[in-house]
Chain length 105, copies 2
DNA sequence: CCGAATCCGAATGGATACTG
DNA sequence: CAGTATCCATTCGGATTCGG
């Protein structure tokens, strides 16, 4: 089933957020670290690497400023725009229904 | 932003799968346990409870057979159909691109 | 049958220090 | 700056047992 495949690639806490952050163009590692609330450097690195392996993002080193690394969506990554859009729309409309999560205790 | 809200409600490993499993009508706890591959009873209970709190599903006890508990999507839960549909479609189309995940080592 | 409680190992993830 | 490595606390989650 397709849902499972999609979740395998897009699942986890951060991938959707990362894609959303990259929707409007390339960003540097440090920009992503600042823009995405709550993510740590270690986790950001790992997520980006996974997404690179799965062809969602492209990593490139600036040839003018050294030490600057940019990430951008591939064409494949951009094919998730429709998903992000639907998610955003739904989340926007239904915001007031959120209560809380159960905390296992 | 709406994406964050949506992920807060639908995030985690199982919620999307649970919604997909309930798309075509109510199911019993034991049916879900069997149908959803890899989930344990403990985790299934917790996920269902969270979804109940957030109004995605409705829990009801059969009045004919006792000890039978059914879960079904609420109207609100059904409003996620469009999300599931887009995810399924995308996952279906892009299946061959999957490679693997990075394992932190 | 449904699910809560307990036990316990595995995986996750933050903080920090370090390297090129 | 962009990561990697290490340490460690927290969380997750499976297996089992127990109760309504």
């Amino acid at each position: 089933m397709g849902v499972h495949d999609a979740m395998y690639i897009l699942g986890g806490k951060w991938k959707i957020h990362l894609i959303a952050a990259l929707l409007f163009g390339p960003k540097r590692y440090s920009d992503l670290l600042r823009d995405i609330n709550g993510i740590s450097g270690k986790v950001l690195s790992r997520e980006l690497k996974e997404m690179e392996i799965n062809q969602l993002v492209k990593r490139s080193v600036s040839n003018t400023q050294s030490n600057a690394v940019f990430y951008e969506l591939t064409e494949y990554g951009e094919s998730t725009k429709s998903i992000i859009a639907v998610l955003a729309e739904w989340g926007e409309a239904q915001r007031e229904v959120i209560v809380h999560k159960n905390n296992d205790k």
